[in-house]
Amino acid sequence: MLGTLNRLLWTLVRGVLRAVPTLVGVVVVSFLLMQAAPGDAADVMAGESGTSTVETMAILRARFGLDQPVLTQFVGFVANLAHFSLGRSPRWDVPVADLILARLPDTLLLMGSALGFAVVLGIGLGAVMASFVNRWPDRILSVVTLLFYSVPGFWTGLMAILIFSVGLGLLPSGGSQTIAAGLTGWDRVWDVAAHLVLPAAALSTFFVAVYARLTRAAMLEVQGQDYVRTATAKGLHPIVVATRHVLRNALVPVTTVAGLHVGSLLGGAMVIETVFSWPGLGRLAFEAVMKRDFSVLLGILVVSSVVVVVVDVLVDLLHAALDPRIEGHGHG
C-alpha cells in the first residue's frame, strides 16, 4: 500500500506546482478586467448621496487609492495578497477578506451539497440506465434527465418554492437558517439542512443530468471490455460485476468532468442564491457589481479561483486513487 501513498503524494505535489501559474494568471487577468470596467465605487456613492462635489469624490478616490496609476494599484494589490490580505472595501469599509469569509462557508455548503447530491444521484441513475440499456427504466430516465438538463435552475428553484414552501408548507423558501431563533446543536443542524434542501436540489438538477448521461455512456463502454467478460466468467453476480468491475472503471471519466464542473457550479450558485436569498458569495458578488466595489469583486474572483484550483487538485488525487495506471511521477 506504500505504492499507493507514494503515488498520491506525487500527484499532490504535481497538482500544487501546476496551480501556482494558474493562480498568477487569474490574479492578473481579473485585475485588468476590473480596471476595464466603467465607473467605480466613488461614482456610486456620489450618486446615492446626491450632493457630492468633484472635490469630495476626489477625496473618496484618494482614500481608497482609486486615483493611483494602474500599475501602482496592481503592485499594492499583489503586496496585500502576499500578506494574505485582499484589501479594504470602499463600500462596506471593512477588510474584503472578512466580507468574503463571512459568506464563503454558506456558499461552500450549498455547492458541496449540490455537488454531492448530483454525483451520488447522477452516478446512481447512470448505473441504472446502463444496466437496463434500451429497456423501459433507461427510456424513462433518459427523458427525466433530458428535462433536468434543459430546464434552467432558477425555474426549478421557483417551482420548488411554489410547491414545497408555498403549496405544501414543508420547507422554508429562503435564507440559510431561521433568523434569531437562537438554535443550537442538532436543532441548528436540522434547521440549516431544511433550508438547504431546496436550493441544493435546484442547483444540482443540471449536474445530475450531466453525470447520469456521462456515467451511462462510460459504463456502456466499459461493459464491452474483456475484463468484464472475465468477471462474468468467474461466476460473479451481475450486480457485483456492474459495481466492482464496470462502475469503478467508469468513474474515472466521470470524476474528470465532475471536477471541471465545479467552476460552473459556482456560477450557478449565484443565480440560485438570488432565488433563495441564500447569504453566499454569489449574492455578495452581485451586490459588489451593483455598487462598483471592484475590490470585493476582485477578492471574490481570487477566492473562487482558489476554490476551483483546490478542487482540481482533489480531483487529481481522487483520480490517482481510482486508477493505478496514473503514476504521479513521469517515469515508472
Binding site: 500500500m1 505504492g3 464491452g224 471490455q225 474483456d226 475484463y227 467478460r229 472475465t230 468477471a231 462474468t232 466468467a233 468467474k234 461466476g235 460473479l236 453476480h237 451481475p238 466492482r244 468491475h245 469503478r248 472503471n249 481510482l322 486508477d323 493505478p324 495506471r325
Partner: protein, 344 residues
C-alpha cells in the same frame, strides 16, 4: 497422453449436441457436435472466423448480447447449460467451468490488484475469508510460476508483462479446480518464447488438477504437441475429427489437408527460397449460396454433387469426416473398420 479409445468409451464430461449459434443475420456455429472426456485435451482448430471462439463462449454462455444460441444442447455433468438459469450458471462458472482468453493485456481489470482478482473467485465459490483467499492467491501465483508471489500479489495488471498476465488469468481459471477449461487462443498474443512456457503450464495443470482442456488455436504445432484429439472446424461446421496422431498422419478432409500443407515445416527442408508456402485460396466466409458443402467454393477436389448435398459427418474407425468423396477414397482398411457407421 490419455489413450483415445479409452477416453471415447467413458461417458463424456462435456458434450455439445447440434449447437447452433448466430449473430444477427449471420449463423456462426451450425449443428456442431463435440464431446470432451475427463482429463482430455481437445483442440478446436480452423481459420479465423470459423466459429471456434464463438463455440467456447456459447458453451460458457458468455456470448455478447447480440449472439444467440438457436438450438442444441450443452451437456455438462448431467445438466444442459443451454437452458440453465442465470443463478445455476453463475454457480458453475469459475468453479466447475473456466475459461481463459486470447488477450491477456485487456482481460484483467486495470484498477484492481491481481491478488484481489484471484481472491475474488475464491471468495465467491469457496466462501473463503479475505485473508484465507489472499493466502490461496499467493499459492496460486506460485503454482503458475510467478516469481516472488507475495510481492507480486499487490501489483496492478499494468505492472505485469503479457505472459505474466496470462499466468494470472490461468491462476484465476484454475483457482477452484474446474473440471473443464476453455483456452481461447491462450498464446496468440504472446511472443514465441513465452508461448511454450504458458502451454506447458496449462498442460501440467491439466494433468495435476485432472481437468479437461478445450484448446482453441490455429497453430497446428500447438495441436500436435498438446492435443489428444482434434476437431477441425470450417464455417461453423465440424469437418473432421480424429486423434492427433491420426489426423497428422492421414488428414482426410481436403480442408484439413490444406491446413496442414499451409503450416510451415522445417523437416521438409522447404525454405521460401526453394518453394512457396502452400495456401488455401479464398476466404472462409465466401458467401455459400448453395445447400452443399461450405468448403466447396475453395475445395481443390470439388465435385458437382458437393454443391447439392450437405455433407454429413461419416465415421471411419474412430474418426469423423464430413466429406463423402474423401471417405470413398480413404484407405480400405480404415473404411472397412467403420463401414457400419459410414452407412448411417
Amino acid at each position: 497422453m490419455i489413450d483415445p479409445t479409452a477416453a471415447a468409451r467413458r461417458p463424456p464430461l462435456f458434450a455439445l449436441e447440434g449447437l447452433e449459434v448466430s449473430f444477427p443475420g449471420r449463423p456462426v456455429v451450425r449443428g456442431l457436435d463435440l464431446s470432451v472426456a475427463e482429463g482430455e485435451t481437445v483442440a478446436l482448430v480452423g481459420e479465423s472466423g470459423c466459429g471456434k471462439s464463438t463455440t467456447a463462449l456459447a458453451a460458457m454462455r458468455l456470448l455478447p448480447r447480440s449472439g444467440r444460441i438457436d438450438a442444441g444442447r450443452i451437456a455438462f455433468e448431467g445438466r444442459d447449460l443451454a437452458v440453465l438459469s442465470p443463478a445455476e450458471l453463475r454457480d458453475l462458472r469459475g468453479r466447475r467451468l473456466a475459461m481463459i482468453f486470447q488477450e491477456p493485456m485487456t482481460s484483467l481489470n486495470p484498477v484492481l490488484t491481481i491478488g484481489r482478482q484471484i481472491a475474488e473467485v475464491l471468495i465467491r465459490h469457496e466462501h473463503l475469508s479475505r485473508r484465507a483467499a489472499r493466502a490461496r492467491a499467493i499459492e496460486l501465483l506460485d503454482l503458475v510460476r510467478i516469481a516472488e508471489p507475495h510481492r507480486r500479489i499487490d501489483d496492478h495488471p499494468h505492472r505485469l508483462s503479457g505472459g505474466m498476465r496470462q499466468r494470472v488469468m490461468i491462476a484465476i481459471a484454475v483457482a477452484c479446480r474446474p473440471k473443464l477449461l476453455f483456452a481461447d487462443e491462450p498464446t496468440t498474443a504472446l511472443d514465441v518464447t513465452i508461448q511454450a512456457q504458458v502451454l506447458d503450464l496449462l498442460d501440467r495443470l491439466r494433468r495435476d488438477l485432472g481437468m479437461a482442456l478445450v484448446l482453441i488455436t490455429h497453430d497446428l504445432g500447438v495441436v500436435a504437441q498438446y492435443a489428444d484429439r482434434v476437431v477441425v472446424m470450417y464455417a461453423g461446421h465440424k469437418v473432421e475429427e480424429a486423434t492427433t496422431a491420426e489426423l497428422f498422419a492421414r488428414p482426410l478432409h481436403p480442408y484439413t489437408r490444406g491446413l496442414l500443407a499451409a503450416a510451415p515445416r522445417l523437416d521438409t527442408g522447404l525454405h521460401h527460397s526453394e518453394g512457396r508456402l502452400a495456401e488455401i485460396p479464398g476466404a472462409p466466409d465466401g458467401g455459400v449460396d448453395h445447400p452443399g458443402c461450405a468448403f466447396a467454393p475453395r475445395c481443390p477436389e470439388v465435385r458437382a454433387d458437393c454443391r447439392v448435398t450437405p455433407p454429413r459427418p461419416l465415421a471411419i474407425g474412430d474418426r469423423l469426416v464430413a466429406c463423402p468423396p474423401a471417405v470413398a477414397s480413404a484407405p480400405r482398411a480404415n473404411a472397412m473398420r467403420g463401414a457400419h457407421d459410414a452407412v448411417g
